[in-house]
Amino acid sequence: MIELFNVSKQVPSGSETLTILHSLNLTIPDGQFISIVGPSGSGKSTLLGLVAGLDAPTEGDIRIDGESIVSMNEDALALLRGKKIGFVFQSFHLIPALTAFENVLVPMEIAGVSKAPARARQLLEDVDLTARAGHYPSQLSGGEQQRVAIARAFANDPSILLADEPTGNLDSHNGRHIFDLMVEIHQRRSATLILVTHDHNLAERADRSIALSDGRVVADLGPRVLSPPIGAEREIDRQEDRLTEGTHATEVVQS
């Protein structure tokens, strides 16, 4: 379970302070698939980074399985991530010096997992990349790189998978494939999946969808939660219009 209590994040911007997240409260039960949507600069990636312990909130508390991560030091956070959290980035972030196989192997080696090579092979097979195991990131296509990144994210069998616009750098076909893969693995391993996306269609397939705007939650709804919070309908409509426009714009560029 992931819990956020009054989490806010401020960063200095020139001589002023810019508030990216405003006093956020959120509870995410185990095994849930959540999508986070919102325009650029609304704080989606920051929220994801805070949950992963990649950054610390200015105020508030974040708990993972009841344990506060706010007061943990860098190394404790690294260990926590190694054990519980997998991360998929928009721009893949594979280590260029390592082959696909080694990229998947690294988190297990860090955690000291036994039989890591066998598991790395299995993970690559899961993402259908057995044939490309010995290739370096520069020799792989964008879609292939992202599949390696997914295999890496699942290497230590994390209970939480965080994905920051994982399909943002891919064409729609590859994007769909990556998404399906993540959902499939999420279901198979019953891991919590938090997906930040611009893609309205992808967001809709989540158990629950959270809309952010200017660092505030403006909607928190899911297919099974039919009634939106009171007073939020208009904001959600506006949001979703914007999102649809964004999707169109992306498609125009890609075509």
Binding site: G49, D55, F87, S91
Partner: protein, 843 residues
């Protein structure tokens, strides 16, 4: 640990090209230290192993006077000990020789008259394959050096004249005991000791050294020491020196350890330059690896483990670089053996010494670690969050305690390394401090010049303007390049400039009116004849100066005891024989620095003036009483003044000068300098004419000595230039490495410029202008520093006039600019020739 090792190996696998430079830096540094130390240790052990051969005995009893019967009896009493297995006597003196017929030529030789039983140690072989046999010297036979045959145009069987006596050449030396080392005025000539009396050369007042040589049975050093102390106490009052080969070994060892430690510091400078290169490579490397490090943190690796991964890489590179350095050192030693064997001791080995190899490995590892420690600390500050937003970590204003502690530890480590290498904490700390100060000055100078260059940005030419901007681009390598190249240029230019000044000083054309020939050992009754002969030949009357030989026996009433602890440090100055003279006034090159010069009236109380070099010797100063032994007679004189002698302008210089009216009746020899004829044949004829009439008189031809010194100086310069060249080479390596580090940025910039319409010519002009500026700044700084160093060394160390040599400076700066431009353009070519699209699309 598994993860660390595997990650380190994988990283090296992919980045070894970028780290190659790291490897070479360490290799060159370690190589120079191992090569320098091994060469010196080999030379040392070659000399130590020859100490007995050089001395020709286990114990040598040495006197400047013929030993009388009582002295010889005293020696024999002690030498009757069971320890002594052999005994022989020798007399050595420099003298002139000439063919015993009408052939041209006369030559200064080192005459060695040997008794039966010689040599006690060592091989004495002749060129025809025979071994030396004392019988060869019987009935006026001589065994001579090869050079003598060439110079006097004589052959075995011919006769040469030594003193008044003809000797027949019975053999030519191929190897003689103790030969082949040291500075020689002329070839050696061996005759029988019994024949020396007949030549009339070894008489009172001559410069002959009389020696008794003893060999002993191999036993404990203690018994040798007790034999020596018995001899010393038996011969105490006779101004006779007793030496053992053990003591020579010890002296050689001490001298060599000192020079080895100092030379290793030069090697260490090269290694430190390599270290600066390493720090630079590591910094840029970590910068390039930022994302990979952030990813590792993101997937669970702690800063500590990642740091260990990179430390492991550094150590692996340090170790392999050191091994490479050892290979380089081996090659260097082979080169030394091939090209410098003439100037080094015979029988010297050219293999690597195990001790120095281990030292080299350790140093390579230590320097790699120390210089990469601070850049590696940056790993801690790389935040995984940068993967989400492409921004640099916020500026940390907080004082980073860890960084300061590490910096202090690194400095302490460097002081330890330097002190270890210098063999002294003080020297090590000072050397490191000096190096840091020099580096700081270079930095300041480069900042100043950069500031000036920045002011010229309004220049019309776009490429030049852009090049100036490039010097200030983020992540630029400007200061590192200027420092590395500037330091290399500094050493090379300084050595060249100093050598030019030294050679200029030795050039006969610049020696003004100084004599180019010296006549020595002229006896009183020969004075008038010599003066006339010289005047008839050269048209110039030589000034002949009376000299008397003396030894110090007491200062302020305290007897000189060379064995005592407090006098041991002054052994050289106290134990030597002084050539003294007397005259009423100062010479033109002398000034009084303490006391008062006597007036020309004669007095009866002996008075002396000492040179400032002797001031302070066991308390010697104005007012002191100094007791001298002059051919057996003791004479106590009061010191009334201290003189400063300008040795450069001196025809002769005397450390001890007597007031007239005291020494006139002592056994006197005259010396004199003259300007001989310019051409070789006339010089040779003049020498021949003098020796023909006055066989005991020796002639030193300064022209020949200068040739010899010039050759030695040439070798020294070559060696120093070689080391300086090594530094320059390291500088070039750092240059290449620094350029390689900015490769990507450069390629990106070039691609952008091309996209914006710049032709390849413009892009190339920018690169040439950028490196031309860098080279110019480095060359200017290096040559300015070099001028400073060569000036101060010339004026204060060698005490010779210094002149600016514009050609060296111009060549130095031009060479530096050319080198930096060529290296810069060559290393940038690849990144400049890539197609823009490929570069811009690369992640």
């Amino acid at each position: 640990m598994n993860f660390v090792m595997r990650m380190a190996l994988r990283e090296i696998r992919s980045s070894w090209r970028r780290l190659l430079f790291f490897f070479i830096c360490i290799g060159v540094g370690v190589g120079s230290i191992v090569a320098l130390r091994s060469t010196l240790q080999n030379a040392n052990s070659a000399l130590v192993s020859q100490a007995r051969l050089l001395l020709g005995a286990d114990v040598q009893i040495d006197s400047t006077r013929a030993m009388d019967q009582s002295t010889l009896a005293a020696i024999d009493r002690v030498a009757r000990s069971a320890l002594v297995t052999g005994r022989t006597e020798t007399v050595e003196l420099p003298t002139m020789t000439r063919p015993n017929d009408s052939r041209e030529g006369a030559l200064l030789v080192e005459l060695k008259a040997v008794g039966p039983g010689f040599p006690l140690y060592g091989d004495f072989n002749l060129t025809d394959g025979r071994r030396f046999d004392a019988q060869m010297l019987e009935s006026r036979g001589a065994v001579v050096g090869q050079t003598l045959l060439e110079r006097l145009n004589v052959a075995p069987g011919d006769e040469i004249r030594i003193g008044e006596v003809p000797f027949q050449i019975r053999g030519v030396i191929s190897a003689d005991p103790g030969g082949g080392t040291g500075f020689r005025l002329g070839p050696r000539v061996f005759i029988a000791k019994s024949a020396i009396e007949e030549t009339g050369l070894a008489g009172l007042g001559s410069r002959a050294r009389h020696r008794v040589l003893l060999s002993t049975s191999e036993s404990s050093p203690d018994s040798l020491a007790s034999l020596v102390s018995e001899l010393r106490s038996a011969l105490k009052d006779n101004l006779i020196t007793v030496r053992t080969y053990k003591e020579s070994e010890q002296n050689i060892n001490e001298q060599y350890t000192r020079s080895e430690n100092y030379l290793s510091l030069v090697g260490l400078v090269i290694l430190v330059l390599g270290g600066i290169g390493i720090a630079n490579v590591t910094r840029v490397f970590i910068e390039q690896k930022k994302k990979a490090i952030a990813v590792l943190k993101c997937v669970g690796a702690t800063s500590r483990r990642i740091t260990i991964v990179y430390v492991a890489q550094v150590l692996a590179l340090g170790a392999s670089g050191s091994v490479f350095g050892i290979v380089l050192a081996k090659l260097a030693l082979l080169g030394v053996g091939t090209y410098f064997a003439d100037s080094l001791p015979a029988n010297m080995s050219y293999s690597l010494r195990t001790g120095t190899v281990i030292q080299g490995l350790l140093l390579g590892l230590l320097i790699s670690f120390l210089f990469s420690a601070l850049p590696l600390l940056r790993i801690r500050h790389i935040r995984p969050n940068m993967l989400l937003r492409n921004e640099d970590d916020p500026l940390k204003r907080k004082i980073d305690l860890m960084r300061w502690v590490t910096a202090l530890l690194v400095i302490a480590g460097l002081v330890a390394v330097f002190s270890w290498q210098a063999g002294s904490l003080k020297v090590g700390a000072f050397f490191l401090g000096g190096l840091a100060a020099a580096g700081g000055l270079l930095q300041l100078a480069s900042l100043g010049l950069m500031w000036i260059v920045k002011r010229t940005r309004q220049i019309q030419s776009f490429p030049v303007r852009h090049a100036i901007n490039s010097l200030h681009r983020p992540g630029n390598q400007t200061r590192v390049i200027i420092m590395a190249v500037g330091l290399g240029a500094f050493l090379v230019i300084a050595v060249q400039s100093l050598q030019r000044n030294l050679l200029l000083e030795l050039d006969p054309a610049n020696r003004g009116n100084l004599p180019n020939m010296y006549l020595i050992d002229i006896q009183k009754d020969q004075k008038a004849g010599i003066e006339k002969l010289i005047q008839d030949t050269t048209g110039e009357r030589p000034e002949l100066i009376p000299t008397v030989r003396a030894r110090i026996t007491a200062i302020n009433g305290r007897e000189i005891d060379l064995g005592s602890g407090e006098m041991r440090g002054d052994r050289g100055r106290l134990g030597r024989e002084y050539v003294v003279t007397y005259r009423p006034t100062l010479d033109a090159n002398e000034t009084i620095v303490a006391g008062k010069m006597w007036d020309p009236t004669p007095v009866n109380e002996p008075e002396v003036s000492i040179s400032e070099e002797m001031q302070g010797l066991q308390g010697l100063d104005v007012g002191s009483a100094m007791t001298l032994d002059i051919v057996g007679r003791k004479l106590t004189a009061r010191v009334t003044s201290v003189r400063r002698i300008d040795w450069r302008k001196s025809r002769t210089g005397f450390l001890i000068l007597f007031r007239p009216n005291v020494l006139e009746n002592a056994p006197t020899m005259y010396v004199g300098g003259l300007n001989g004829p310019a051409d070789d044949l006339s010089r040779s004829r003049l020498q021949r004419a003098v020796v023909e009439k006055y066989p005991n008189v020796s002639i030193i031809d300064v022209a020949e000595v200068i040739q010899l010194v010039t050759r030695i100086l040439g070798n020294v310069t070559l060696a120093v230039t070689f080391v300086g060249g090594f530094v320059f080479f390291s500088g070039t390596l750092i240059l290449i490495g620094s350029i390689a580090m900015t490769q990507y940025q450069r390629a990106y910039e070039a691609a952008l410029l091309k996209t914006l319409g710049a032709t390849r010519k413009i892009v190339l002009t920018i690169v040439v202008a950028e490196y031309g500026l860098l080279g110019l700044i480095a060359g200017l700084i290096g040559s300015a520093a070099a001028l400073g160093l060569s000036y101060s060394m010339a004026r204060f160390l060698f005490e010779i006039p210094w002149s600016l040599e514009p050609s060296i400076i111009v060549a130095g700066i031009a060479g530096t600019v050319a080198l930096v431009v060529v290296v810069g353009v060559l290393s940038s070519l690849q990144s400049l020739s890539r197609k823009p699209l490929g570069v811009l699309r690369a992640p």
